[in-house]
């Protein structure tokens, strides 16, 4: 009896992890290009929230670094563009990949756009939602290596699949200096970024050369 319940629980756990997944990415171009470093370009903001690009580009660095890639320091990169007269994200996205490679020496660039950012009030409760779309482009060839979209919301139930990752990212201790700085959108942006980019996420990035899992198949490649 005990054995049987073990089997049932085990089977349920397996099934719940496999519900209705979208088609797996084709990673062949990504593998062929084999990038080691990623520059996150200032995101295009399709929301009225002016701080959204700052929040999103900051939070995207961690999942890319944790996947095993070198991530260029985002604020410094932003300053470099500003110092060279490029202050509008859409202008930056229009810079030739070869020019970006020449200045930054990056293997790949992440082109991000923000579709939702912020809080909407629905009768009695409020929801903070972040939706982001991104493409990774090889800077030597200009070829797209990967693309994806993800969202996160304060209203969603933290289920068993996302709980660990979410908890890890949100529970980062904040010291006194920054006590007043962070906001709900910044926390939700961390979750959306991890879902979108982490090599541990379904259809996320591959593992990069700095990851101990480099070369191993990612979630959507496993059958």
């Amino acid at each position: 009896m005990l054995f049987r319940s073990f089997i049932v629980v085990g089977a349920m756990a397996l099934l719940s992890a496999c519900v209705s997944l979208p088609p797996a990415h084709d990673y062949s171009a990504f593998k062929a290009a084999n990038p080691a470093s990623v520059i996150i370009l200032p995101p295009i903001n399709n929301t009225p929230e002016v701080i959204a690009p700052y929040s999103v580009m900051t939070q995207m660095a961690t999942p890319i670094a944790e996947s095993g890639f070198y991530v260029f320091p985002v604020a410094m990169v932003n300053q470099t563009f500003n110092n060279n007269g490029l202050t509008v994200a859409s202008d930056i996205h229009a810079v030739a990949p070869t020019k970006l490679k020449e200045i930054f020496g990056a293997d790949a660039a992440l082109y991000v756009s923000i579709e939702d950012y912020g809080t909407s009030y629905v009768v009695i409760s409020s929801e903070t939602r972040v939706t982001v779309t991104a493409s990774l482009v090889d800077l030597a060839s200009g070829q797209m290596l990967w693309t994806g979209t993800a969202n996160a919301s304060s209203a969603e139930q933290q289920n068993a699949n996302s709980g660990g990752l979410v908890g890890m990212l949100v529970q980062a201790a904040v010291n006194q200096i920054f006590e007043t700085v962070t906001d709900r959108g910044f926390d939700i942006a961390a979750i959306a970024s991890a879902r979108l980019l982490s090599a541990e996420s379904y259809n996320g990035l591959l593992y990069g050369p700095r990851s101990p899992s480099y070369g191993q198949p990612v979630a959507s490649e496993k059958k």
Partner: protein
């Protein structure tokens, strides 16, 4: 047979739930970057203090510091009129992450040329 199934289920369960140890220590880095980009909430000196603490904590915990921390701290030093410390941290970023060499050398050359 039952035992095999159970073992497999448990093994798969463990694989599925494994929480991987982070590669790097981030500390206050993301909050510092966000603060810098927003341009409000803390002075550059306070941001420097927070990042120095983050680097000390990474060392104390024996964890490698995240990519970009030394570079970002270096930039803050340059902006507060301390190019010596700025260069020290730029060099540390280059040493730990050779992927950054071309960009940081570009910045150092521009800084000296300007």
């Amino acid at each position: 047979m039952k035992k095999t199934i159970i073992t497999m289920a448990i093994a798969l369960g463990i694989v599925g739930c494994k929480t991987t140890e982070p590669l790097y220590y981030y500390g206050e880095y993301n909050t510092a970057v966000y603060t810098y980009l927003k341009g409000e909430g803390a002075t550059l000196e306070e941001q420097i203090t927070a990042l120095k603490e983050t680097i000390e904590l990474a060392d104390a915990n024996g964890k490698p510091i995240a990519p970009g921390v030394h570079a970002h701290l270096g930039m803050l030093y340059f902006e507060t009129g301390n190019p010596q410390q700025g260069e020290v941290h730029f060099e540390q970023e280059k040493q730990m992450f050779p992927e950054s060499v071309q960009y940081i050398d570009f910045l150092l050359t521009s800084a000296k040329g300007a």
